[in-house]
């Protein structure tokens, strides 16, 4: 089992991500992102393109080939940085239990 887990000490990297969700992260944030973006395929958040380079909705990958990609209601983006931040918050909460909207 890996030694690293997201803890309160990692909260410092949230601001870095929020400031530039599409930037090249520093090593601390990169480690957070490796964990949040990792994990199995099943249930992984993805963007579903509604209009290339302009409009996306949120979806989740299924477990197996042949199953459809799930589209999640209520999530539509016209900006990739916004989409990254929203998914970051979802994953942060799933990983730590902490709601970043409350914590920030």
């Amino acid at each position: 089992m890996s030694r690293y887990r997201i803890t309160d000490d990692d909260f410092q990297y949230v601001a870095e991500f929020r400031a530039n969700p599409l930037g090249i992260p520093g090593p601390g944030l990169q480690r957070v992102l490796n964990l949040l973006r990792g994990g199995p395929k099943s249930g992984k958040y993805v963007l579903i393109v509604k209009q290339p380079f302009k409009r996306w909705v949120l979806g989740r990958l299924p477990a197996d080939r042949g199953q459809s990609i799930e589209i999640l209601d209520g999530w539509e983006f016209s900006d990739l940085a916004h989409a990254e931040w929203e998914v970051f918050k979802l994953r942060w909460k799933a990983s730590t239990g902490q709601n970043l909207e409350d914590a920030l």
């Binding site: 973006r37 992984k44 993805v46 290339p52 380079f53 199953q67 459809s68 990609i69």
Partner: protein
């Protein structure tokens, strides 16, 4: 966008030749077709914009849409067997290595008439246990199962017998390597309630699948099968415990898969000539149950490779019927074209090359469309099957309609970046199927922030640049390079590669090397080229084999003992491990990949060497290429660099290098002998793209960029930028017949 699927019989044609097009429509009643010349396939609004040219050629139509099924799954079929009578005694034997026991019913050896529902079947039932049944007119006469699920990936002898005199049915599974508490030889006998109803079956014998109506086959077996044999007599308990000698009385057929490993034929050694054929390319040249590591080359000890690995998701040729065909005009120019099928909001493109008339050239420049690499990536599932793709691309993955379709329709088949449903690696990849990710307008998953184009669509960045340069060029494909050799290149002044010509056969490599040896000039405008050794099938069209032996960046590792191609017997893997590292050909070789952002190059002192003056004419530097559609820089995605120990010519000039890549760029496995921290782009010095130039002894020259992202920068600022200028400077000088100075000068010290 996905309700029309299509493919053509060929990926390259000369003027005057015919192209056959196979189409399947899902709910589209009628469609139109056009021929277009592909100029710029990238639809990124930050780029120059999509561009195609309509060719005034009537391809016929409108055509009526019809559905054509994709029959995935491999099997063997024996067509000419004498009729089987259900009242006959029967003995069956086979050695199997199941990979997905319990994943539904899977036929091992069967002979059934699917119309009447009559025949016999030896199979794994849905619990993964061996079962045997005889059915007449849809009514099961007798069925018996061991009831014990088989272990996954363990060799097991399976025997079945029906005694017509006693009406006794029996089946046995006997693991060839017993385990404590495992299911050892286990036999079940069952007496049929009444004598078998008389019926006759003339349908083919099937191995690894059942006959079916309205489709090629059903209930495919997943795993390896070895030495299947059929007797027209019952087998006793002792006989069932070991493979009965394949010469005994009552033997109908005994197939030895160690014969003809490079072919699609299976051989019957019983003397009854019940030879068969394989459908959908199951994997041959794989270790059988007696393989013990003494020999790794199937050609030297075929008996150790007497198994065939069947998969429910194997696919070679969709074998669709032709919906229309057309003849190319005699005066059509060489180039990259596409057949566009469209109906309302639906459209589908089938790209192909129009080569110059055979034996001629119509331009001084030739672009090699890297179709072997397109096949290697055909319908890859990197974005939907590989969870790490988001990490290595540094951003959320975007699912386009084609991704959604591929996820719901795995029957489109696999490629070298996928594993089969049973987890085994994919060794064969074909173009005789709709290749949905080889289309203009396609957006991929590895192309970096920005356009995110890959392979075919990324290569249109080069086509577009040549168009803007008003540079005429011919186009050939990897298939010409493989079949026709150096002659197809010989008279061109300049050869230009694609962005990522990763997969090369020995004949292709020989062709390029031969071209350079005779004074040719090569512009390698990509990254990670000439990396994997592939084999084209000697007789089957449109399919290649690649087994990624030893190491390299790969989706899976071939199993031990399976490093030799079944198509040709070649040792496979990296060209670097085959003694022909790309560094010898183009001065550089693969050192890293990452799919987030690209970097600029920094000009090195060697850029001021007089030998390189023509390259940097009008270029200020020192930073070049800090822009682009593929990751925002000219150096990115996959990077090559020099390595003299791998064959970089000693006089090669390193003109520029990239730096400051992110930690999503990592060293390649083949460069990591003793892992230690610091393998990422922010720490490992080896991670950089190097732009290289060198002359060849015969007056030719090579210019290499070492970056897949290079071409994404060509169109920046309306094609007025350093990357485009360097590229055009090189092509201009390479077009000049004046030989390059063959006397190497020492490189300027750093």
């Amino acid at each position: 966008m996905t309700r029309i699927l299509a493919y053509a019989d060929r990926i390259s044609a000369a003027p005057g030749e015919c192209v056959q097009v196979k189409v399947s429509c899902d709910g589209v009643k009628q469609y139109d077709v056009n021929l277009v010349r592909v100029i710029q396939g990238d639809i990124n609004p930050s780029g120059p914009g999509y561009q195609e040219e309509l060719i005034p050629l009537n391809l016929g139509g409108p055509f009526t849409g019809r559905y054509q099924r994709i029959n995935m799954g491999s099997f063997a079929i024996v067509d000419n067997a004498p009729a089987y009578h259900t009242q006959s005694s029967l003995g069956l034997q086979v050695v199997i290595w199941p990979t997905l026991p319990g994943r539904g019913s899977q036929a091992i050896l069967s002979r059934e008439d699917p119309e009447s529902g009559t025949g016999f079947r030896l199979y794994l039932n849905s619990e993964g246990a061996v079962a045997f049944e005889i059915t007449v007119n849809g009514v099961q006469q007798a069925q018996v199962s061991t009831g014990l699920p088989l272990a996954t990936e363990r060799w097991c002898l399976v025997s079945a017998s029906y005694d017509a005199d006693s009406c006794e049915l029996s089946v046995l599974q006997h693991p060839l390597k017993p385990y404590p508490n495992g299911a050892d030889a286990y036999q079940v006998l069952k007496r049929a309630d009444s004598p078998m109803v008389s019926a006759t079956v003339e349908s083919p014998i099937m191995i690894a699948a059942r006959s079916a109506t309205n489709q090629l086959a059903k209930e495919h077996f997943n795993g390896r099968i070895e030495a299947p044999r059929i007797f027209l007599r019952s087998l006793n308990r002792k006989e069932m415990l070991s493979l009965v000698e394949a010469k005994r009385n009552g033997l109908v057929a005994s197939w030895d898969f160690s014969i003809g490993i490079s072919t699609e034929q299976i051989s019957d050694t019983s003397g009854n000539e019940l030879h068969g054929r394989l459908v959908n390319l199951p994997t041959r040249g794989v270790a059988g149950n007696v393989w013990n590591g003494d020999e790794h080359n199937w050609q030297n000890k075929p008996a150790h490779y007497a198994a065939i690995h069947f998969h429910e998701d194997d696919l070679y040729d969709c074998a669709w019927q032709t919906d229309f065909e057309f003849r190319l005009p005699d005066d059509i120019s060489s180039g990259v074209y596409a057949i566009r099928l469209h109906a309302e909001s639906e459209e589908y493109y089938i790209p192909f090359a129009v080569r110059p008339p055979r034996g001629t050239k119509t331009a001084q420049v030739v672009f090699i469309l890297p179709t072997a690499s397109y096949m290697a990536y055909a319908n890859n599932r990197i974005g939907i099957d590989v969870p790490e793709t988001e990490i290595v691309s540094g951003r959320l993955l975007q699912m386009n309609p084609i991704d959604l379709y591929m996820q719901s329709h795995p029957e489109l088949g696999l490629c070298f970046y996928d594993v089969h449903n049973d987890g085994s690696g994919v060794y064969y990849s074909s173009r005789l199927r709709p290749v949905v990710n080889m289309q203009p307008k396609h957006i991929g998953h590895l192309g970096g922030a920005g356009s995110n184009v890959w392979q075919f669509n990324a290569d249109t960045h080069i086509l577009d640049w040549l168009e803007q340069l008003d540079q005429s060029f011919d186009v050939i494909t990897d298939e010409e390079l493989d079949v026709e050799g150096v002659e197809v290149l010989r008279d061109y002044n300049v050869v230009i590669t694609g962005t990522h010509p990763e997969y090369y056969s020995v004949a292709m490599l020989d062709s390029l090397q031969g071209y350079l040896d005779s004074g040719g000039r090569l512009m390698y405008l990509g990254g990670n080229g000439f990396y994997w050794r592939v084999s084209f099938h000697p007789t089957l069209p449109g399919v290649i084999e690649c087994r990624k032996s030893e190491d390299g960046i790969r989706a899976f590792a071939p199993l031990p003992g399976e490093f030799y191609a079944s198509f040709t017997g070649e040792y496979t893997g990296l060209w670097r491990r085959n003694g022909r590292a790309p560094n010898e050909l183009v001065g550089i070789g693969m050192v890293s990949q990452g799919f987030d952002y690209s970097s600029p190059y920094n000009m090195a002192r060697a850029s001021r060497d007089p030998r390189a003056a023509f390259i940097f004419e009008g270029v200020e530097g020192p930073v070049i290429g800090d822009y682009g559609l593929s990751g925002g820089g000219a150096a990115g995605l996959e990077l090559d660099a020099t390595d003299h120990s791998l064959g970089t010519p000693p006089h090669a000039l390193v003109l520029a290098s990239s730096e400051r890549h992110s930690d999503l760029y990592l060293m390649t496995p083949e460069d990591i002998n003793d892992p230690a921290p610091g393998l990422g782009g922010t720490e490992a010095e080896i991670i950089r793209a190097e732009m290289v130039f060198f002359e060849t002894p015969s007056g030719g020259a090579v210019f290499s960029t070492g970056s897949i992202a290079w071409s994404g920068s060509l169109s920046h600022q309306d094609y007025q930028n350093d990357i485009a200028r360097i590229s055009s400077n090189v092509i201009k000088r390479f077009l000049d017949d004046t030989p390059f100075d063959i006397t190497p000068k020492p490189q300027v010290d750093e």
